[in-house]
């Protein structure tokens, strides 16, 4: 890989730390959104059926 900017060793180390933590949060948020969406769909379906 040709690098023409210096990524900086410290920046890589920090990125690994931050990305691991934020990556977990990111996944959790996504899972939460999907669960919310699932229930939302479920309830809107049952409402439609009632109608």
């Amino acid at each position: 890989m040709v690098l023409y900017i210096d990524p900086g060793s410290g920046s890589i180390v920090l990125q690994l730390i931050i990305a691991t933590v934020t990556g977990i949060i990111f996944i959790l948020v996504r899972v939460r959104t999907q669960i919310k969406l699932f229930f939302h769909r479920l309830f809107s379906k049952s409402k439609k059926e009632k109608k």
Partner: protein
């Protein structure tokens, strides 16, 4: 001719020919270019107005073994630099860069470059102009441009948000972005308590020092999953979004609200009448304030570069343009008495304001007296400057009897004995023909419409 700023990227370079811009793609970039074009990344970015569109052309410029393709990107009317942007322009540019990064990852690519100079205003939108900024994303590799992103966006935005908007001027002496340790030294304690700022600036700057000159390949853990990378982008995005423009009242940002409505309405009419006589393609509005007059010219045939020294004014102007989706006006922070200079290698990487602008018409409304009084620039110097700059000018003369003039000169009586309408006209007719002059209702001020001799 190879562009003077295009020497860092090993993947290609920009060159001009007959006033047209081209980008040469080298053989070494072939695989990346193919992925950009074939993965759907290019199409999605162009469709969303995030990347400058280009066409492939046939030209011979490189030695055959090095050349892969020559592309012709759409021409950006005016190249502006981050040190000429107000807070919201800077913020939007950072968010656009992150949006591009997210889309690139979806298509198996990543930004290898996060320079703020690669983002430009084009048809009212912020676009990435460096088509060769992408490379194939290798699973589990970190983002090499992370530090650059922090130095080009997070650091200047934090300084502008927590301290003073004018601090993005530090870019002029730090062409590679504002050093993290410099930003950290200046930031107040309340900034350091913000998680995003703490991580991306403070911790970042500490680790930068701690690990300087260490070979990254020797670290045992050097992988980063794609989800983690999305997490990092999300964190940068949130850090930027939490920084907001804080309006403070400046002398000039409320100027248009305090002026006499009869005067400003009549001035608008006269300005429009003058402009309609020549239909210029590019107007340079010097001392635009919040854009009351340039905003009148809302047609896509006339482009306007509007400058003002006041950050609050440009911020107001930019927000207004954004909310009205105006495409032909670009407001920038700049001082005509001290315009952006040329910086970088051999003073030739980023050009000065005056090298970049070539207007058909200059608008100088209620600014001439400021140059004379505040900047002590003499009449003949202003005339010479304008005659070198533009064929047409619309200039407002503020007489000695004007309240504003009296206020500005109250402690300097006797300094402006040669300031009069007659002197003004005599000075200008050396280089210009006065096509029309009109007194503005509700004031003693006069608007001149002139053509270069």
């Amino acid at each position: 001719m190879i562009h003077s700023a295009s020497f860092r990227d090993p993947s290609g370079f920009v060159f001009t020919e007959n006033n047209e811009i081209f980008r040469a793609v080298k053989m070494s970039y072939q695989q990346n270019y193919e992925q950009l074009m074939q993965s759907g990344l290019y199409d999605e970015l162009v469709l969303k107005g995030l990347l400058i569109p280009h066409i492939e052309v046939k030209k011979n410029i490189l030695p055959v073994h090095e050349s892969y393709k020559i592309i012709k990107p759409e021409k950006v009317l005016f190249i502006s630099y981050p040190y000429e942007w107000c807070f919201s322009q800077m913020k939007d540019a950072g968010l656009v860069m992150l949006e591009i990064q997210k889309i690139a990852l979806h298509h198996g690519m990543i930004l290898k470059d996060a320079s703020a100079f690669n983002i430009q205003f084009h048809k009212g939108r912020l676009v990435l102009v460096d088509t060769l900024s992408f490379e194939k994303y290798n699973d589990n590799k970190p983002w090499i441009a992370y530090r650059q992103f922090c130095e080009h966006f997070i650091a200047p935005l934090a300084l502008m948000h927590f301290l003073d908007q004018r601090l993005n001027f530090l870019f002029t002496s730090n062409i590679d972005g504002i050093p993290l340790e410099l930003a950290v030294k200046m930031l107040p304690v309340k900034a350091k308590l913000r998680l995003g700022i703490y991580m991306h600036l403070i911790l970042h700057s500490r680790l930068k020092v701690k690990y300087s000159n260490r070979n990254i390949d020797k670290f045992k853990i050097r992988t980063i999953s794609k989800n983690s990378l999305y997490g990092l982008i999300h964190s940068l995005d949130t850090t930027i979004r939490t920084m907001k423009f804080k309006p403070i009242s400046s002398v000039w940002s409320n100027y248009s609200e305090v002026t006499n409505p009869v005067y400003s309405e009549n001035k608008k009419q006269i300005v429009m009448e003058f402009i309609s006589q020549i239909n210029p393609q590019l107007i340079f509005d010097i001392g635009a304030n919040t854009g009351n007059y340039s905003a009148l010219i809302n047609n896509n045939k006339t482009a306007i570069i509007a400058i003002d020294t006041d950050y609050q004014c440009i911020e107001k102007f930019y927000e207004q343009i954004k909310s009205n989706n105006v495409q032909n006006i670009l407001p920038l922070v700049n001082d005509i008495a001290n315009p952006s200079s040329s910086i970088g290698w051999r003073n030739n990487e980023r050009n000065s304001l005056l090298e970049r602008i070539n207007p058909d018409l200059v608008l100088m409304l209620a600014i001439f007296h400021h140059l004379v009084i505040n900047n002590q620039i003499q009449l003949n110097m202003i005339v010479e400057f304008l005659s070198n700059l533009s064929k047409w000018i619309i200039i407002e003369y503020v007489p000695e009897s004007d309240e504003q003039f009296k206020l500005m000169t109250q402690n300097r009586q006797g300094d402006f004995v040669y300031y009069s309408e007659t002197c003004f006209e005599q000075g200008f007719i050396i280089a210009f023909d006065i096509i029309c002059k009109r007194k503005i209702l509700g004031s003693e001020r006069v608007l001149y419409f002139m053509k270069k001799k």
